[in-house]
Amino acid sequence: MSIAPRAGHDHVAPTFAAASARTPLLLTGLLSLLLLAVSLALGPDGFGLPDATAAARLILVEIRLPRAILAFLVGGALGLSGAVLQGYLRNPLAEPGLLGVSGGASLGAVIAIHTGAAGLFALALPLGGLAGAGIATLAVVLLAGERSQPVTLILAGVAISSLAAALTALALNLAPNPFASVEILYWMMGSLTDRSLEHVWIAAPLIALGAALLHSTGADLDALTLGEDAAANLGVDHERLRHRIVAGVALAVGAATAVTGAIGFVGLVVPHLLRPLAGYEPRRLLLPSFFGGAALVLAADIGVRLVSPAGDIKLGVVTALIGAPFFLWLVIAMRREGTA
């Protein structure tokens, strides 16, 4: 919805109309829905929906649907979390992994593989990941303490991330057999292969709840643009804001990492790319970042399936391959901006 120009305030009305334009939201929303449809239609023999046989329906519902939905939700969770954290920390280099949540989730899943629990029942992996994400979040919150500044929160997140990474390396080091090592390595690369509807049922409610919490921070993030004191003067409760962000990121990113493994760069690149379109306003960046993240992960997954139908190339590898050149381009763009 855009704001109609009002008579009598010639200068303000048209500029507001421009500010409230929903172009980025429409753009990313349509793109992600389109890619969702492509993902559903893409089979091992190219595009096309399977015929009406029972087996074909089963393929669609049991194999392609969970994959497409998870790509959408995981990408959305990462994009939105990145946008919220960048707004909260007022730093364009913040990313969803900062709070230690994804590191914790990875460690939990790796432990599930290491102990063999993953071999006993399929859902041990995502459940282990969720437990890891929960424990890591708790540790970060306790470490940062009450009334902590954003910087303290990030330091605590970095500390817990490093610890989780060290323990993950230890688990890999002590892997009981080469197969477990390979399985751990592959899982850490992030993938959507062979995910079932159960994975969707585990992740979807948590991601939805986390996304709702994160989306509710929009007005506060806008106010924070003016600095913490001015934001407080505009009615921002810094404590409440921090709680919502930590809980939101823990739920959304924790659940996402638990079902797909760590998928890098999405939460960093997507908000960055969309920010100019959103007029650099943190609130207007949130929903587009959700859909933009969804679109990026769907596109990367479609690319993976086209290039290597056997699933040899992992999704996380592809997003990293997209992400790194993006940063090269960013550096060049910034240098140009600086000399202009």
Binding site: I3, A19, L224, L226, G227, D229, N233, Y280, E281
Partner: protein, 263 residues
């Protein structure tokens, strides 16, 4: 004859502490509707810290702050935000948002999102842009502004808040002389409409001209508080700033001219 003007902001025996160090001790102050009060003092005298406490952003160690009769510490944040606008000293803007969007942030205490803006919100934003001479810059990205222009944009945000109490920490630092005058004239107009205003300023001539009262901080305490011309005197300036100054009038305007430092 109407009743006595309402007291909009009151500090009752306020002591501000950071850690165990007293920053300011025992400040009592009442700011009535229609008044502009200058908070003056040397660098590090505690002006900014005191203003933050007066704005309800930090609780005082002792005493209390009343905003329109209610204890600031107990007021709901949104309610407080509608009663009091505060301009911090540091001019930060994290993202290069457009000028009009920055000013519109001043309406956040009234609406959670711009989509809910009413006629009154547009009027407030427009009035703030006009007052700070920014209408021609409304669409400009804020990283394309000069330092003084940015200062005016951030000021306009507090004006758009349309709160009956305004607390501004060195609002005119970095502004050219025309905009300094314009700003204080706008403050005077606001006060005439019933606002209560507290500003930290270093320009004592302006304080004498536009502020009815002044609070002079020195060495963690209130050195003087009262009508500006009783506070801003040669003796007090010497004591608080260590400077001999000429306090006089030129063309019927008050002038304070620092002469030399005392050693």
């Amino acid at each position: 004859m109407s009743a006595a003007p309402v007291i909009r902001l009151a500090a009752e025996a306020v002591t501000v502490r950071i850690g165990t160090r007293d920053i300011v001790r025992d400040v009592s102050l009442e700011v009535k509707a229609g008044e502009i009060v200058a908070v003056i003092g040397a660098n590090g005298a505690g002006k900014s810290t005191l203003l933050k406490v007066l704005a309800g952003l930090a609780p005082p160690a002792l005493g209390r702050v009343l905003i329109e009769g209610d204890d600031a510490a107990a007021l709901e944040r949104r309610i407080l935000a509608r009663r009091l606008a505060y301009l911090p000293q540091e001019r930060t803007l994290s993202w290069p948002m457009r000028v009009v969007s920055v000013v519109a942030l001043g309406r956040l205490p009234y609406h959670d999102q711009p989509a809910a803006f009413t006629e009154q919100d547009y009027r407030a934003v427009h009035a703030a842009l006009t007052a700070m001479d920014l209408t021609h810059l409304a669409d400009r990205k804020s990283n394309r502004l000069s330092g003084g222009e940015l200062a005016r944009v951030l000021l306009a945000r507090t004006l758009a808040q349309e709160a009956p109490v305004l607390i501004a920490d060195e609002p005119t630092a970095g502004l050219d002389m025309a905009h300094v005058l314009k700003f204080f004239e706008h403050l005077a107009a606001r006060a005439a409409q019933g606002a209560a205003i507290v500003v930290a300023v270093h320009d004592l001539s302006l304080a004498l001209r536009f502020c009815q009262r002044a609070l002079l901080l020195s060495d963690t305490r209130v050195l003087a508080c009262g009508p500006s011309h009783d506070v801003i005197t040669q003796d007090n300036i010497a004591q608080a700033f260590g400077v001999t100054a000429l306090v006089t009038r030129l063309d019927d305007l008050p002038v304070v001219l620092p002469a030399r430092t005392l050693t």
